[in-house]
Symmetry: C2
DNA sequence: TTGTATGCGTTATCAC
DNA sequence: GTGATAACGCATACAA
């Protein structure tokens, strides 16, 4: 079934058929009605390949997910999917390991899929500086800030990470904690981790709490299992902590398990705070205290900015969606 | 950059270029080498739209995910993605609510994306019987059995659900449990739930344990939050249980939280067993006893069967991948 | 307002 | 082995 068949069937020419199917003007109401009816009758659907070949573009939006065991990104993909459903766009989701180069991958996929726009879930400054200039479609980076990156086609939406972390640590300090261990990402390759680390460091400095990254910081991938290992490692260094701040909820859960295996109770012996606000945090025992990111809003604004730019608004915006600290059972005053 | 440019550049014709790029015979080694080099030099990539327009097909494999808060499917999508990466196929993942009609959605997407094959994650017999005949590409249904469905283009890969559940319940009985509550899906619309329910029922019958589905079974969606509600509902009916079997790990975690909120300890007061074997189960406290599905193998065999059929093997296979019961801390002998 | 014709980048069928 | 050339289904400039 092609527009040719439809033309034969209705008596109109392919030109008119095409115009009707693309909601273009200069078609009589009569023709429009007849053609629309015939199309509906046989469930006609334009051939996307022909359409896109002709128009030299696809209707794809590419989503590059960096770190497939990071549940936050899972939640974001879902929220994005919900918002794109019903639009003319299609989502092509590509997952990669958290230490692969997302920009090079994007360059490759752009050639292959010719997407109208890109969404990066997670991204590394260094990679962007090195190769992002090779990408010319509108992009949005979600969960990292790109405001100081010199690219006109790259928006960003993220939360006020360092501030949120700083406030969280300060609150822990006010709650009486002085020995605070940190579990976070590999700072040498994760901007997000570096930024959150900065929040920690500032809080410690301003409150005159000694903090030695070599001893009090353990690096982990964004997964349960690796954070379990990191927590064990932290413990093995000989210091004891009354609180552990983790840079992701998945890390917090791995750490909580490690603490339990060491015979420590949360929060009686150690308070634990995570970051992200995953749904699961509300259901574990004890409920997880966490710096909650507004996933829905991150997704919504991300898509809005991207679609705006695809439609030629040509704006380069960098938004901050405040995170909200939620104190739950896993942290207590001492 | 098109094959025309490449032709001009190398001095060969588009025909030869095309043959080389498609690994076809009847090309001199010299030509092959020269063309491959030129292509590599400028990072040439065939235009997928033109290719697919000509060949009248895409290289897409469509994945229809039924129930977006079902973490098992998340794990499966990831495993499938890993296996498809590097193959000539691309994955188009479509998430829908767990009570939408996956077959109608598939029919629609088939028209739109002309995929080479379909993977259903979760599926309902009734929907397949009603509309699956409208789909003519190879399909595989993962996590449900389709062996008694009269379709030549539908394979299936799933675990021995009813047997696994029956054995689990029997083991609970051997562990001394007589009052066992069940939290599972809505049986009127979930085949999987019906099948797992059957496993429960048989175990109860064979061991002469009274079981009243009206009282001892609570229906829930495959999500933490709804299972929390279901567990509360189960408790509100006045019966007490020494064990609760949940038809999904996400349900088990919702239920565990509800139990904790009612002042009950797991496993001291109530044993809890889940189904799926999600990674998180290893990290919660107490570790979750679960009927573990082999996600990697489900994904692997699913893809293998699908690709086999896409390549014309024309086989209609229904495989059972045994589930493995893993007894962990959340269940105890009484 | 409608019809006709051209070309998008590729594959495949012919000749050579 | 290689080179022309005709489709594939659509959008669009232009003619009517």
């Amino acid at each position: 079934m092609t527009i040719k068949d439809l033309a034969a069937q209705t008596g109109y020419s392919v030109g008119t058929i095409s115009r009707v199917l693309n909601n273009q003007p200069n078609v009589s109401e009569k023709a429009r009605k007849a053609i629309l009816e015939a199309a509906a009758a046989c469930g006609f659907q334009l051939n996307t390949n022909a359409q896109q070949l002709k128009q030299q573009r696809s209707n794809n939006i590419l989503v590059l997910v960096k770190g497939s065991s990071n549940q936050l990104f899972g939640a974001l993909v879902e929220a994005i999917q919900r918002r794109v459903a019903g639009s003319p766009f299609h989502l092509v989701v590509d997952y990669m390991d958290e230490d692969h180069n997302e920009v090079l991958r994007a360059v490759q996929l752009c050639r292959e899929k010719k997407p109208q726009g890109l969404i990066f879930l997670g991204g590394n400054r260094k990679n962007f500086l090195a190769d992002f200039r090779r990408i010319d479609v509108p992009c949005v980076l979600i969960t990292s800030d790109a405001s100081d990156l010199p690219f006109h086609n790259l928006c960003s939406v993220c939360c006020d990470e360092d501030q949120a972390v700083k406030q969280t640590i300060e609150q822990l300090i006010r709650m009486g904690h002085r020995q605070i261990g940190i579990i976070g990402g590999y700072r040498e390759r994760s901007d997000t981790s570096r930024r959150r680390f900065e929040g920690c460091r500032q809080a410690f400095i301003e409150h005159n709490i000694p903090f030695d990254a070599e001893l009090d910081y353990a690096s982990s991938r964004f997964s349960y299992a690796d954070s379990y290992r990191a927590a064990k490692e932290l413990a093995s260094r000989g210091r004891t902590y009354t609180a552990v701040f983790c840079m992701a909820d998945v890390m917090a859960m791995g750490a909580m398990r490690a603490l339990a295996d060491s015979g420590l109770r949360v929060p009686e012996d150690v308070s634990v705070v995570g970051f992200d606000g995953l749904a699961i945090g509300e259901f574990i025992v004890p409920r997880l205290s966490t710096v909650s990111q507004n996933v829905e809003l991150l997704a919504q604004r991300g898509i809005e900015l991207l679609r705006g730019n695809i439609e030629g608004k040509n704006i380069c915006v960098h938004e901050i969606i405040p995170a909200q600290i939620q104190w739950k059972e896993s942290a207590k005053t001492i």
